[in-house]
Symmetry: C2
Amino acid sequence: MDTKTKIVQTALALFNEQGVDVITVRHIAKEMGISHGNLCYHFPNTDTIIRQLYDQLVEQLTSQIGGVITGPLSLNRLAELVGEVMQMLYDYRFLMLDFAGIMRRIPDLRDKHRALVSSRKLAFQHILTQLRALGKLREELYDGHDDDLLEQFFIVGDFWLSSATILYEGAEENKIKHYQQVFLSLIVPCLTNKGLTEWKDIDRKKTL
Amino acid sequence: MDTKTKIVQTALALFNEQGVDVITVRHIAKEMGISHGNLCYHFPNTDTIIRQLYDQLVEQLTSQIGGVITGPLSLNRLAELVGEVMQMLYDYRFLMLDFAGIMRRIPDLRDKHRALVSSRKLAFQHILTQLRALGKLREELYDGHDDDLLEQFFIVGDFWLSSATILYEGAEENKIKHYQQVFLSLIVPCLTNKGLTEWKDIDRKKTL
DNA sequence: ATCTAACTAGTACATTTGTTCTAAAACTAA
DNA sequence: TTAGTTTTAGAACAAATGTACTAGTTAGAT
């Protein structure tokens, strides 16, 4: 395999295991069994690697989300999407666990992320209107509630992993499913009776 | 003022301004105009200072929350409580912005925080039952929805500041109020018509 | 007045980290 | 082959940091 991609992969693993703040180029080089001089030839510092990893994640996310908002939408499909996105975030969990710190240290990423959020915001808005058109979502409870809901999506979506490392005590393999449920329960109280029945139906099927 | 408390205060200011990860005992000492040897006499390292600051915050929080759950509860009082707690978290924002990292580095704090969360969980559960008894809160939409709601509280409550540093673009003095609104909007879709009218009434009064 | 403990300044040292440089090795194209 | 480019290893250096130590100073108790 290409040294460059191998560096990125090794870095990802180490970041996820030990945290992005304690891993240096020397650690990564040692883990790979190459000299750190060599590593610095490809990536002068860890921030460059982080940038690369972030780009990878964003690429995966946008293609995934983009695929969904074009197709037909059901609550079931929405639930699947959330699960898939969360799995991706989990694969790059080092980013999510130091989000604020990384974004402060690397301003490029902050700007890039804002762009990503804008696109995600549009996607979610699209989903809300579509659900409402299908009679599954209640009307806004007050002016601007949709915006508040979107913000909730972003906070829970970006920081469920941080919260999990502190509070979650269940089995690791159920973690994503658990927080998928927490995320989706943001929207459940906003469903109409029609939407709610559909939702409970999904739930029933899954537990079978 | 006591040197010890002055160290803690200076550290808090520097942590909040520049981030907990870039501030060392030498920085704090320099800012205070004392030798870092002296500072290390009082606090051998920054982690000890962080521990102290965390304890301060927890003390403030518990006394605040404890005061509320004993008294009579209205949605208005709940909104006030959320605002007050958020103000406290803002005063110690360095903690919230590196939450996962700090908790990983200082395991004592993680345990302490879990205890805090347990008590907060009870407090919130208490609030939910009380609101429901007063006919302001809808029944659970599905079995376990209250638990999901509590988790949402904790994620939004602990990480609104992190999200804000990345996404919030409004005026600094409106920040807390904005996220107070986002937090409270978690519960609004779960209100009964009675609760909703009361809620809108608060809103109307505030905007007057 | 004196003794003791608390406090403070400053020094010193080992590690770590980011960064740069040199030179050797491997590879590629003509 | 050969010339040039890319890749690699390793050394070297400055700056920062955690930690420990020494030696003064202060303040309060007896």
